[in-house]
Amino acid sequence: MSLWLTLAVNSIALGGLLFLLSAGFSLIFGLMRIPNLMHGSFFMLGAYFGVSFLQQGVNFWLAALLSGVAMALIGGLIERFLLKRLSGQELPQVLLTLGLSFIIADLCLMIWTGDPWQPATPPQLRGAVQVAGLFFPIYRLAIVAVAVVVALALWLMIDWTRLGAKIRAGVDDAPIARMVGIHVSKLFTLIFALGAGLAAFGGVMGAPYLSVYPGLDAEMLPLALIVVILGGTGSLVGAFVGSFVIGFLYNFGQAMFPDLAYVILFLPMVLVLVLRPQGLFGKVMS
């Protein structure tokens, strides 16, 4: 009984972290149709940035923000100078993002060495709450809260601001959007930067929980893929729900069917792609 409860609460916590990871991927892959195979690298590099900021004595939250901003800048530059020229060409995009992920992985190894880094949890969030006699770390619950805040902020931005409307207009019909005066190309750079920044922010948030180490990128990328595909490309609600679904599949799969844990994780992705390609919450593209 306590096992199930712990697993359930932890599923939600993992879901929150997965949302921070995949919200940006949902924007980049869903809205811009770029198969960004370096999204895991953004997450990892962001986490390393966070580690370095923390070592300089920067406050945890500030470190997460700074890391997000730094990564957004880098992402923006990559989009502007490398990816933009390949718009609509999937194969070269795959090659480019994979190539860059190799580079980022090796740079991280150079700079931060192979040692695992696990920054301390921010002091105000240490400790655990007791739920029905079970301990549960406050920090993980805080991640869920942050994920919900980020989700709300993104939702507000995309659905309720003029900027968001312009982004959606650019996705809807790029040529017409340009014609009514929307700088679609700049907006797309912005989305990419935002997606990269979010991943980095998620990386810092995840660092006290997952720790940072070489190979983290390759672990996170498939998770981002499953979440977004399951939830539906381009749908924030989908990414949100997908994150928690995967959180549950991951936790219960590992605990109940360790031999088939990955089958349980990836089979839903195959089924969704085959039976409902737009995902659980995606819209059918006309």
Partner: protein
């Protein structure tokens, strides 16, 4: 903190040039080649880098000359996977024609190349733990100056049952040979002393979050973990975060509480009791030199990966001495390596059994916080521990190799 490899190499070159070799050695123009099979890229690079630092520290100390022979070190990066280990081993043996190979890091890498080094008659000094390489499938070309997977765990099983008086234990480790063998060793001694292992958990090597496993642990006196690489850091944080640490004491194998890992750990590691074949606290002269050398060159506290390579270097030196400098016959070198017996190494006295595995001390340490820093304080030393523990060698080898299913866990609940 950054590894200044190039500077280190430069320093080495300068040092070896400055100290001219004695005249009688000049005749031997060809240097003695040591190949280092390590991991410099990918998830295992941490241990790989430490291995390289360990051997470099030793060679620097010796001015790149061992028993009068000039040494050339060739470093090969396997990338941490078996296919890479195979290719790189063949690079070292067939292209570079090294006299001896140090490494590799991981058990699955060692398993992929043992047959190959035997076929190519190249001595190998490994710190990877795959048991059978020095047991049922003993390889005349392989010696292991570190420990088998179970060597320290036997001691931990003994300590947990006899000194800590634990009755019920759970084990958790990665789902591969190194994990199986460690847990099996612990279980065997623990249960032979009247304890019960009631839960054995096997998360995969790549596990972002250990909570689903930790959540399954309850109603035991202790948990023994055998994680390696960066996993112990993640595991112990989750273990503490979930509040289990305060209720159930945590025991660890050597990789899980390696001294080099302490800088990556936080308060969650305080109180963890581990069994290791090396302690940076050890009071031998060579260990002092070693720790100082590592501090000076890299600013780090050395752990088992570095120490293993340092000891490996000492073994090479001793073997060349045994052969009187004529160490170019690789078969003879392999035999000499088996005969090596050292009294002063960073890990204490070292000698080898007939299967090439070390007989040496095992330390039981307790992690404490001193002056704001984590240290593993030695609380008990088991001297001259053999890979067979106190069991009869023949009977031991008559059993199957330690695995996920052997010895059978009869007390699982």
């Amino acid at each position: 903190m950054k590894v200044q490899r190039r500077t280190v190499l430069k320093g080495l070159l300068a040092a070896s040039a400055a100290v001219a070799a004695p005249p009688f050695l000049r005749a031997q123009a060809a240097p003695f080649k040591i190949g280092l099979l390590t991991v410099k890229t990918g998830p295992l690079a941490q241990g790989g880098n430490q291995m390289e630092q360990g051997i470099l520290t030793f060679l620097t100390e010796k001015n790149k000359t061992l028993a009068g022979r000039a040494i050339e070190l060739i470093v090969a990066d396997t990338g941490g996977n078996p296919a890479g280990a195979k290719t790189k081993a063949s690079e070292l043996i067939e292209r570079d024609k090294v006299n001896v190979i140090l490494g590799p890091l991981a058990a699955f890498e060692l398993l992929a190349i043992t047959d190959y080094v035997r076929d190519n008659a190249t001595p190998l000094i490994s710190i990877a733990a795959a048991e059978d390489v020095t047991q049922r499938k003993a390889n005349p070309f392989v010696i292991r100056p570190s420990a088998t997977s179970a060597q320290c765990c036997h001691a931990m099983g003994d300590f947990a049952s006899k000194e800590l008086k634990f009755k019920r234990a759970a084990t958790i480790s990665e789902d591969f040979a190194f994990g199986y063998e460690q847990m099996a060793g612990f279980q065997r001694v623990f249960e032979d002393n009247g304890g019960k292992v009631v839960k054995k958990l096997w998360p995969p090597f790549v596990t972002p979050d250990y909570t689903p496993y930790i959540a399954q642990i309850s109603n035991v006196d202790c948990v023994f973990n055998g994680f390696a690489g960066s996993n112990p850091v993640k595991f112990m944080r989750a273990y503490a975060d979930l509040g289990v640490k305060d209720k159930i004491p945590l025991l660890a194998g050597w990789t899980a509480m390696d001294d080099a890992l302490l800088k990556s750990l936080g308060d969650e590691a305080v109180g963890v009791i581990s069994a290791a074949w090396y302690s940076s606290e050890a009071n031998t002269p060579s260990n002092k030199r070693f720790v100082e050398g590592m501090q000076k060159a890299y600013g780090v506290l050395p752990g088992g990966y570095s120490a293993g390579m340092y000891v490996a270097g000492q073994c090479v030196e001793a073997a060349i001495q045994i052969l009187g400098g004529k160490a170019d016959d690789r078969k003879a070198l392999a035999e000499a390596l088996h005969k090596v017996s050292l009294t002063d190494t960073p890990r204490g006295p070292v000698k080898f059994d007939q299967y090439g595995n070390v007989v040496g001390d095992v330390f039981i340490r307790k992690c404490e916080k001193k002056d704001g820093k984590l240290v593993n304080t030695v609380i008990k030393t088991y001297p001259n521990v053999s890979q067979f523990w106190s069991y009869d060698e023949k009977a031991f080898l008559g059993n199957p190799v330690y695995s996920r299913d052997y010895p059978p866990a009869k007390n699982l609940e």
